[in-house]
Point group: C2
Chain length 468, copies 2
């Protein structure tokens, strides 16, 4: 399976970083989806020079590479296909610089997101992107998938913080794009091209991130609804009122039940849905006023109670409950198909209703949660991938959810990426001509097609939602 | 000069929109730089379908096209080279939709920026990007150059507000990319590729922009300094203090003299430099507190006075003075070479000193102003392009300024684009390999090279800063 001499060539580059034993490889064959593809080989460089050398070897031998950070992604982006070897960046985990004066951090791709956040917050700075996986996921993966998070509502997604990238192109050439300035229009925006490209255009080896001053005050409020439609309306109404919350998160009844089964206590399990609101700023009086205004709007739209977390610990409990959803769902049923549709604000209530109708029609449990403030919902279809009859219904439901999102003026993916999970629906969303243009760009950057094959682009003739 | 049949073919598409008379063409041959190249022909479509048809004709005949909105750019991006015909979008000037619910505006490329701002503000919304040319420039040009403005410090540049684009590809195929959602990671970020591409990849025919709630309170303060280095230090110190002003603008003594000669009164002409600070928000007490904190930091860094504008009219007078700089400079000397370097925050004081030293060394007047808060400075070299001896010094000074910016970790252009003016310095900034990658992307999108030739990419062997 592995070409002769490949292992030796890679061991010359990274003597202690080439894995070939089956028990080592298995850990590099999956991500947060239900896909599993054990790679033939894993290589773990520590330096950009080693990444370049690995790329040159892969190019010379026409061997596909799948870059991988922590493998916590939710679209299959890091799952190695078509015999790809895995290029893991977990050893490139150094924070190279935090500059208070320039408001930037320079990091290697393997730095854990929460670790970076803690470091910069200790210096009075703030790195806002907060994917729910932040304690497991790394910046390199966040950039590759252009990850979002709850605070994206106020602060934007990972890509909004990427000032510069060092990228190793497929043939092993390292380039730098962007810089340490917040404004830069010098030529084409390569930063944004590589951000969210899911490792299909090159391997990211260094990232310069914009940092903000840390907000001095944070508040969290919980609003409880007897009808999910009211919760959705309340979210839209808060934004229409000109309040700028840091986050608005939706959890429906089934989602709450799943995390309660997993040990999270204190949630109103008799409610149809809850909203968790975050607000932050530098002035206690203003943040309190914002939270009060949010509460008033929520009550006017049918919230039966609105409670404000009394202290940071109570607030953190709510956010930890929110972040525990993905692992909790995985325990209720053997598998889950997590979606990431994003619809315009005015269509959130309609999308929520469509997901519920689709769940009923296809007789599936679909817990619904997500960043409802920016229209980014995560219906998760619970399933058992060993059951072909159920999986046929799952595929039909997934298609129906995508079609509903696109019909409502939305998109397939707000923050997880396309990867393997949604590639067959790309044309439905972006159209034939834009997809063809993406293919031309892919071919221009990666003419041999060695970077993370099988991702983003649909396979010919495959209407199949997902290859198990 | 014009190929036979071309005029007839274009008149079939746009019967009343093909200009060929010399007196009509001359107005389409320049922008805000000193370049002039009268095009052989101008075509003024009103619809996307007409733009597609024009592209198809240009493709079939291998005729280069230069898209143009209002031609107020500052890098030569809209100046037609190499026999390009001008595709002017000034007739495509409709605001198609303003949605309060979704927080978006959908516009054609010829909509004047200030016009859109007034419309959305009347609905309680806010479109932050504010290039100084906002009363003359159009959204299409702003997107093509990824324009900034004073408020970019707090709110980001044009590209941060582009949710979706309709673009006509070189061969006449229209595509849509992005949507009405604030999050979208469905495939490669084509929006960001076309934003700032200066018309070299296609013609933008429709733009969906993100809108924010309009801040309820705005304040402006003026700080006066006897030494420009203190002003630069004060700007950095305000940001380091964690205050988030909407804008920090620098005007040096010579800049003030130029606008005073042009009728602006009330500026402290005996000072070495001034800073104009903007602050905004929803709470009067907070904005007042921010302005007070800014004033305290400025005084601690050597401001001899700090005054807060008493009302909106006084505030608007200061901002109008700021916006009058470019036209005023053009009256002091026959020409100006306006630069747009951007350096990391911590290097602003050093960059200011370098510009002054370069002016002295090359015996040139270089008024210095700009968005100092985000490190984006506009040294403008005053000159007379008919004087070859002076122009040789101008070229040397321009190169020295670029080299200083790059040496300090900065970039050639923060918000004006590269166009024609800075293309010979591209390699100095982005490096050989990233430039080669940009060329490959250009070739993938525009294989015949018909879109806005002569822009962004340096000409072989030309060390020459600018072809007059």
């Amino acid at each position: 399976m592995i070409a002769a001499g490949l292992i030796d060539a890679l061991r010359e580059v990274v003597p202690d970083g080439v894995l070939t034993a089956a028990e080592d490889l298995i850990a590099y064959g999956f991500d947060g989806t239900f896909y599993e593809r054990t790679p033939p080989l894993v290589v773990l460089p520590s330096t950009t020079a080693q990444v370049c050398a690995i790329h040159r070897i892969a190019t010379a031998r026409r061997i596909p590479l799948t870059p991988r950070a922590m493998g916590s992604g939710l679209s299959g982006g890091a799952v190695p296909l078509d015999g790809s070897i895995v290029l893991g960046v977990s050893r490139m985990d150094r924070v190279l610089e935090i500059s208070v004066d320039d408001g930037v951090a320079v990091v290697q791709p393997g730095v854990i997101t929460a670790h970076l956040q803690a470091l910069v917050e200790a210096r009075g700075l703030f790195y806002p992107p907060d994917p729910s996986s932040l304690k497991q996921s790394a910046i390199g993966g966040n950039v590759a998938e252009n990850a979002g998070g709850a605070r994206a509502l106020k602060y934007g997604v990972t890509g909004d913080y990427v000032l510069a990238l060092e990228v190793v192109l497929p043939d092993g050439t390292p380039i730098r794009t962007g810089g340490r300035t917040v404004k830069n229009v010098t030529g084409y925006d390569l930063r944004r091209l590589f951000t969210g490209a899911e490792g299909t255009l090159g391997t990211i080896t260094e990232i310069t991130l914009k940092l903000l001053p840390k907000p001095r005050v944070k508040r969290t409020a919980l609003a409880v609804f007897d009808r999910i439609a009211d919760a959705a309306d309340a979210s839209t109404a808060v934004l229409a009122a000109g309040i700028a919350p840091a986050a608005i998160e939706l959890l429906d009844a089934l989602t709450m039940r799943c995390i309660a089964e997993n040990g999270v206590t204190g949630l109103p399990l008799d409610a149809d849905a809850i909203l968790i609101f975050g607000a932050d700023g530098n002035h206690e009086s203003v943040v309190n006023e914002d939270i009060a205004a949010i509460g008033a709007v929520a009550r006017a739209h049918g919230a039966r109670t609105v409670t404000v977390a009394g202290d940071d610990a109570e607030s953190e409990r709510l956010w930890n409950a929110r972040r525990s959803i993905s692992p909790a769902l995985a325990r209720r049923r053997p598998n889950k198909l997590g979606e990431d549709v994003c619809v315009p604000r005015s269509k959130v209530t309609a999308m929520v209703a469509r997901v519920r109708a689709i769940a009923a029609e296809h007789r599936l449990e679909i817990p619904l949660f997500g960043h409802i403030g920016d229209g980014n919902l995560h219906p998760n279809i619970l399933c058992d991938k060993r059951d072909p009859e159920e999986m046929a219904r799952v595929a039909a439901a997934a298609r129906a959810i995508f079609e509903a999102a696109v019909e409502l003026g939305g998109t397939l993916s707000g923050e997880h990426g396309i990867g393997l999970l949604k590639k067959q629906f790309m044309e439905l969303d972006v159209g034939t001509d834009a997809l063809a243009l993406m293919r031309r760009i892919k071919a221009a950057v990666d003419p041999l097609g060695i970077m993370n094959p099988g991702k983003i682009f649909p396979e010919p003739g495959g209407a199949d939602a997902f290859r198990l």
